[in-house]
Symmetry: C2
Subunit: 500 residues, 2 copies
């Protein structure tokens, strides 16, 4: 047998990567381009590609290659050693699931997604219910196949936020829930609802799109290596460093919503365009967790996009986009408008003070579902009760309630907590960026958004999976990840805005 | 070993089909949506999928399955027997090519396509030349791997028009060349160039697109199972009966070109939407040859779209599309305008009298390339000389010459002859349709295009590969395919138009 080298391993990894990329193209097309009657066949195609990917990712050849390279660990440099270790991690995890299970899951995901599209449009939870039941059963089965300590939910969390555990999330979310509910109460108790008459009327989609593209370009998103399309729910996907696509949606009654969506997805896109080209088509050119990915999107959307410095520069751009509408509106008014705090029904439109509460609600429900303490049929009632408890709002229908998010339709359970972690990471990392980059806020205020992108590229994007999310945060900030920087950020920003 | 059934075979065929479909999605995306920097990775992805498909299509498992089913041939019904035979045919052909060759070819195709896009835009044949040299070498290698009798070109023809041979094309093309050159000379000698002042000015793309969509809907193209997009070169592709997409392009100076493109690609799309759903994901839901596919597109584009009956109905629609521009234009004037005969440089814009001459030129060049009698470097000179000989035109640059078509950039050699065969089949089949459907031209004149679609569905689409192209033509028309019906059609139509 000839000596196995990293190059051989990379050939096999490239095939797995290419299948992943092909699946992502099919999924992007499904959500952005596919005509309705293509849905059934698309589900079949994705299930077949899933099964083939699984065959490659669990092959005895790959196992032999890894064993041979593990035996020669001392000859490998640190990136190579990490590649072998990460590939072994992926291999072990993949081999827990039999191919037939992977195919069944993929079929249920495609069917679930298409059922959800209609169910949400018609606010018809019963139509979605059998799909969700199947998906929850499959995820409970997956947890058993993966194996776990403590809660079976830990097995699912691992897919999205490696190393994260229910035991760590519970106290963290208790702290966040407590503090944020408190903050919200102090704000809304004041009954300081400013008037925003100037926000009335409609805001042309064209102009919103052009403004989004302008800001994306300033952020350094390379449109020769990407696209901005419209889709029912915004997302970012990539097939390669050279092809990173985002989708957005437009609300004719809100001039900001599409812009912040674009900045959010653009933040994800900068990560994927910034992955290490030397290690493309390997796990080293992947993010180590969704939370650390979300750190980028939330930083761009909220800390930058909903920050005062940003609007110093972009109020003129906003005025250009909507001529004659905003001549008398000030930066302060914009800053207030984009930071209105109001408990509401929809997560993706939630302000920063309430956002994590939406996540906590989903975490509680998912945990009960996976631990067998909640039936799918009872989700709407449980959902509505938690929205009353955490946010004080009454859910008028399931479209504005438990059908609002796409994730469960894809069978993604264990995903939501990464949104809250992304918020925490974003504040902690931004503190470090402020220390590291002299005049960062002046750069933002003058439209130079590239210094921040460059910092993120070095501290996060280029690293790929050579470090875990907590290691990345600690290396950049000097501290383990925690809730304090985020809570301090909220206190400071909203304390000032609402004169608390 | 458990008894192998057709159902087992269909599971494996479904995987192969799904990989094909995934590749088609990636190719559609590459030509319609992909940002430029995605090209390299897309080539890699397609090469990997090619290699995986090849592995499945040549697996010893598939071989064993076929052998078992062949041994039980007497138990199979006729469709099942045909499925086994067709799969064996595909298997034998696929096993001639080693996987490494398939991967090299796929990589060269993607690189060739992207190089061609730029080379054509800049009319820079030398930039494309090394790619084409590689592709021609690969095709010559493929011919040797496939094996052949007579010319190596036969091995390549087989991929596009099964059973067709150089020995059959030579006399056929000699006859077509002779008769069509003659016809063109009689028309252009008359110097009867009518004046078409009313065609001057520009024709808005929006209106052209709406008109195309209206006619496509009347043809029975189901847009819930398809899309119409814009691409540098028009094509039709399908991933399933429920997802059949076409692309078109718009010429602001010509109100007809996009419409005929849409009808042409729409003709292809009706075929793919009309395949037998019972046999989806198998070779029985595929066309037996490109010529018989092209029979549909040319029939819709030319015999219908450039026919008088069609314009009786659609002149009002044309007037609506371009208000006030065509109030004084008659059906006769439209019929003359869309049938102007003029030797020209570009195949896809050629009139019916000269179209086959463009095909014959490409056939002659390809034959020389594959038989080793022409170097790629000498293509531009040889091309230009043949255009002078057959069409009497001087080629101003390679963009309007040998770089005009996409096919060679994909390494597709042996494809062009199917265009001429499609013309021949279309006239012969339409004669039969006129006999079979009472009042067909009245239907067309009243906008009922569905009777023809239904006839084509029964006579062609539903059959799939259960019959070969010549068998389909013979079954529908009572005669073997030949040149006479097409030549008679040209004589009659253009004899009348030009009062020959």
């Amino acid at each position: 047998m000839s000596t196995l080298t990293i190059a051989h391993l990379r050939e096999t990894l490239a095939e797995i990567h290419d299948l992943n990329a092909a699946m992502s193209v099919l999924e992007w097309d499904m959500e952005v381009m596919m005509p309705p009657k293509g849905a059934e066949a698309r589900g079949e195609q994705l299930a077949t590609l899933s099964a083939l990917r699984h065959r490659l990712a669990t092959s005895s050849e790959l196992d032999r290659m890894l064993t041979a390279l593990e035996a020669r660990a001392s000859e490998l440099d640190s990136s190579e050693a990490c590649l072998v270790a990460e590939t072994r991690y992926d291999f072990l995890r993949a081999t827990r699931l039999p191919e037939s299970f992977v195919r069944r899951l993929s079929e249920a995901q495609s069917a679930g997604y298409n059922a959800w599209l209609t169910a949400r449009a018609e606010s018809d939870f019963p139509a979605f219910r059998p799909h969700l039941e199947k998906l929850v059963d499959l995820q409970r089965e997956a947890a058993e196949l993966y194996g776990y300590e403590g809660s079976p939910y830990n097995a699912l969390l691992e897919s999205y936020e490696r190393g994260m555990r229910v035991e760590m999330l519970r106290p963290l979310f208790a702290q966040l829930g407590e503090c944020q509910k408190n903050l919200v109460a102090r704000i809304t108790d004041q009954d300081m609802h400013q008037r925003f008459d100037w926000l009335g009327g409609t805001w042309p989609e064209d102009a919103q799109r052009r403004l989004s593209l302008r800001v994306l370009a300033d952020m350094g998103y390379d449109l020769d290596a990407g696209r901005l399309d419209t889709a029912p729910h915004p997302f970012c996907t990539h097939f390669d460093i050279g092809d990173v696509r985002i989708t957005s949606r437009y609300d004719a009654h809100d001039p900001f919503s599409a812009l912040f969506t674009a900045m959010h997805e653009g933040g994800h896109a900068l990560y994927d365009q910034g992955l290490d080209p030397e290690w493309r088509r390997t796990p080293l050119a992947e993010a180590p967790s969704l939370g650390i990915h979300e750190c980028n999107s939330r930083m761009w959307e909220n800390i930058i996009g909903r920050g005062r410095a940003f609007w110093t520069r972009y109020l003129p751009a906003l005025r250009e986009a909507f001529p004659g509408r905003l001549d008398n509106v000030t930066v302060q008014q914009i800053h207030e408008a984009v930071n209105r705090v109001e408990p509401s029904l929809i997560r993706v439109e939630a302000d920063e003070c309430t956002y994590n509460l939406h996540v906590i609600i989903r975490f509680e429900l998912e945990l009960q579902l996976i631990e067998g303490n909640l039936a799918v049929a009872d989700i709407p009632d449980a959902w509505n009760a938690l929205y009353k408890e955490y946010l004080g709002v009454d859910v008028p229908d399931d479209a504005h309630g438990c059908l609002q998010d796409v994730h469960w339709s894809h069978g993604m359970i264990g995903y939501f907590p990464t949104y809250a972690l992304g918020n925490l990471y974003s504040a902690q990392m931004f503190e470090a960026a402020l220390r590291d980059i002299p005049g960062l806020l002046d750069d933002v205020a003058s439209g130079n958004l590239l210094t921040l992108r460059e910092w993120l590229r070095q501290k996060i994007h280029r690293i790929g999976r050579r470090m875990t999310a907590p290691e990345i945060v600690k290396a950049a900030t000097g501290k383990d990840p925690g809730a304090e920087p985020y809570l301090a950020y909220l206190e400071s920003k909203f304390g000032e805005l609402y004169a608390l």
